[in-house]
Subunit: 96 residues, 10 copies
């Protein structure tokens, strides 16, 4: 099943530049691991904002939560999730 | 360039069932025409809501507006548009 | 999978009392049919408001949408959907 | 009587990992104690978010407050409470 | 148990002055009946707005809903309900 | 004149447990002093939330401000104030 | 006592031009009567919007409500009221 | 002085296509008259939405209001106005 | 020209009592200097809240910004500004 | 293509005056570099607020993001972006 996930990142102001760099590196590794698995299908930046839009295709809501909550910055993001389904006007057979 | 477009449909309460059916038919034709052109890449339903999430790949913001405003229900929708760009952590080379 | 669905009903002001009564009767039949199927597990009223809170256990987001959009009042409700999953602190094995 | 309780957790950014681990452990013990008592009937995670949805069946609003405010993370959560009652279309005799 | 109920009235624009007068009369009778019963303890106007603040002391959330939904203008109000309980700093023994 | 005051408490995360306990004690003393004066008529807890609902009967808006701003936690609360007046449907002669 | 009142006007779309003109004329007469009484001290337009900002000096919240609710367009406005009091940094002795 | 004005158009659902066409024509004439005067400097469409963003350079807030309120669709728009001034980092001497 | 300015003060939680007292003293001096100049016409407290409502009469938006941004607490306030103009129903010739 | 960008600055409360001054200086240099390039066309201050309104003309959404995210204060701003296109009523041939 397919989810649209929007994430706004709020880096704590007290973090040192080293700590930020460490988190950013681990966030990249974690996110790219899930992209390689094929479950994290799209990862886009919202132009001009510190926000992301993602599309994930997973087995279950539990798997979606496992992926998103594995991100090192998970506790520092405002996250909005939409469960998607087939639109009657969509020509494409598959969801992705 | 790629846009994420979210549309909430608000059918006027005074419309007859015939008028609604007519609009729904024309909306489908219009939307499928743009899907066939390859510009309207994804059209999903938000599960349980009278809302859509779409991803369009267009030449310009003017083209995006031409497509969305050609929908018969355009004046009766609340529409939210996000301009997307490449995310530094994205593995995929292309946006779509 | 389990969804929490919150619905606020907005009856169009132009409807006659007969039309309202007809919709309310059909809404009840429709909702009770889904309750009998076992998919619509809980249906509660929010005390003092014209709003409902429901818990549904379905096969897929598409099935959730089929159920909710089959309600006669679907076009006249503001609907909020949350996809739920297992909480690590939950003692109960099953979701429901 | 039955309440729907939604909690968003906001861990203070200044907390050490030890402090967080300590709170998380005590939160689990506290929540599971109330689940064993039968008063905290459902505890779900919102998929992809650091939020919970719970259903509690209690003797009074005071008892609800005693339970929720006993959680160690109570001061660090945004909490929304809805008092529920029987829906005229509900087939189920009992609320739970 | 005690509830705080805030109601904003939205009279449909299509109603004739007769219809409005009829509803207002019946609303008054209905509300005063519940006040006489002792369950609707306070009914205040918010100064300068078409809104009310009420305090009700009832047996159950179901009784609260029975009272509020018996108001003729119930379908035309935006209603907000808060379930109240004893505050540890309150000197007064009783809630009302 | 009568005011409805809603307060959400936001304890600063950096405060030690001693500092919190000190503030809570002084808050109680301050609030109970005003309750004894008869001006702070009701003080309720919103069930399940770190929020209060109060009803005060005072001589003037200046007196209301003197009372509320004397609370030690005043700078750490989000406060909403509604000025109340007599409702035409109210049976009770007095406001309180 | 002094109140700040903000009003957004929402003329019903079904009104004829004659009906609108009639309401606008009566609104002007009513508002100017209160201005002459000295109680409605300031009446400003928000530049570029169909909204007003007013300052009233009245005897009581009941008097404020009597004035505002006497406006013919009262049921068709979204109204926000703030009760004002003396600021410790204000040099001016009087409120107005 | 310079104002940023954002307008969302809400055409009443009861209007006939002739009435809409008449308003749209007059709206265009009115807006182009002000553009020719040099006071309405920029008029942009928000891509994909029935909304405009405008920049006006006027003599006074009263003149801004005269211009915006002369639009035939003025009563049917949600309008947001921001008063702009020189930014200390701006290189450009003039505002426009 | 006349502006309505609403300010909510958010004192940083980490400030010592000395630092707060110093800022409050300087804020008073600054605000009273502008009041003496005649440009800051009204300064009111919102009863029961840590918020102010002010009316300023200035030469230009730039002057308004110079005044407001000279306040020591400027970076720690949420500020809302409305540009006002003459209302057609206002009897008073002058804005102030 | 043209974007309207609104930025609210939130300086972290823990920053020393030196650190703030350093950021402000670098922010100015960065923003003026982009203004000299011709891509950052307008930079205005919202009168009385710590907010900016900008108009940028760029090659792509990616270029917009490169510019905005190069600002030293980028992680400490709430940013809102609107993609603009030609309005059918605009007389001006070019967007800028």
């Amino acid at each position: 099943m397919v989810f649209l996930v929007e994430m706004d990142v709020n880096i704590p102001e007290s973090w040192s530049e080293e700590k930020i760099a460490d988190y950013v590196t681990r966030e990249k590794e974690c996110s790219q691991g899930w992209q390689k698995s094929g479950k994290w299908v799209y990862l886009w930046r919202v132009a001009g904002q510190y926000s992301n839009v993602s599309v994930l295709e997973v087995e279950s809501p539990d798997e979606l939560h496992k992926i998103i909550s594995s991100l090192p910055l998970f506790p520092y993001m405002t996250i909005n999730v939409k469960s998607l389904c087939k639109h009657p006007n969509a020509l494409r057979e598959a969801m992705i």
